[in-house]
Symmetry: C2
Subunit: 119 residues, 2 copies
């Protein structure tokens, strides 16, 4: 049982849109990612997804809305809801979601990660 | 689907050891609490519990160890593990745990909260 220093975990990688697992509990994963630019439209059929912003700002596009999140803010995207994260500048995010959550849902994209590294 | 501004949620209460639910997903709750002083020894038989520190510093006492967490750090306490949080000065924490999690496990204490307010 170790103390997880989130900022040190962020220092361990530089690439974008490639979430790392930093903890697991109750069938859920805690992931962190650095993101910049535009992600792909997708949804998670059976999983709600929490985005918490550690640093920077993230726009999450929905079918009829855009929500802007800043550091210290979170949003829970319900299962089945189409969304597309976009970050104009580099943004650091933390995700809480079931271990079963696929990166881009049923969409396959060049950004899609199928195996999440644990750090 | 709203943006949850965590610092604004913390402004909504002042009491200690009384977690509020600020979000729910996949059968899990996201709770926040202000804590100061010493909590009660307890464990959660069937639930792993994540502590993430928003502000200040928290000592978590275990049977043979004490872990100190500072802002931006987290720990996952596995189910069944006895623990006692202690904060010398006021500390703001975020918890991620199953909705079924009882505040003080099977222990009943004057600090025990049985119904968590949603804010």
């Amino acid at each position: 049982m170790n103390v997880i220093k989130v900022s040190e975990k962020f220092d361990m990688f530089q690439d974008h849109w490639n979430p790392r697992v930093i903890g697991s509990l109750n069938g859920q994963d805690v992931k962190i990612a650095k993101v910049q630019g535009e992600f792909v439209w997708h949804n998670h059929k059976d999983e709600d997804e929490l985005f918490y912003i550690i640093k920077g700002s993230l726009d999450i596009h929905f079918e009829n809305d855009i929500k802007t999140l800043k550091a210290g803010e979170m949003i829970i995207v319900p299962r089945g809801v189409e969304h597309k994260p976009v970050a104009t500048e580099e943004c650091w995010i933390m995700l809480f979601e079931p271990r079963s959550t696929k990166h881009t849902g049923e969409v396959i994209d060049e950004k899609t990660v199928t195996q999440f590294e644990k750090i």
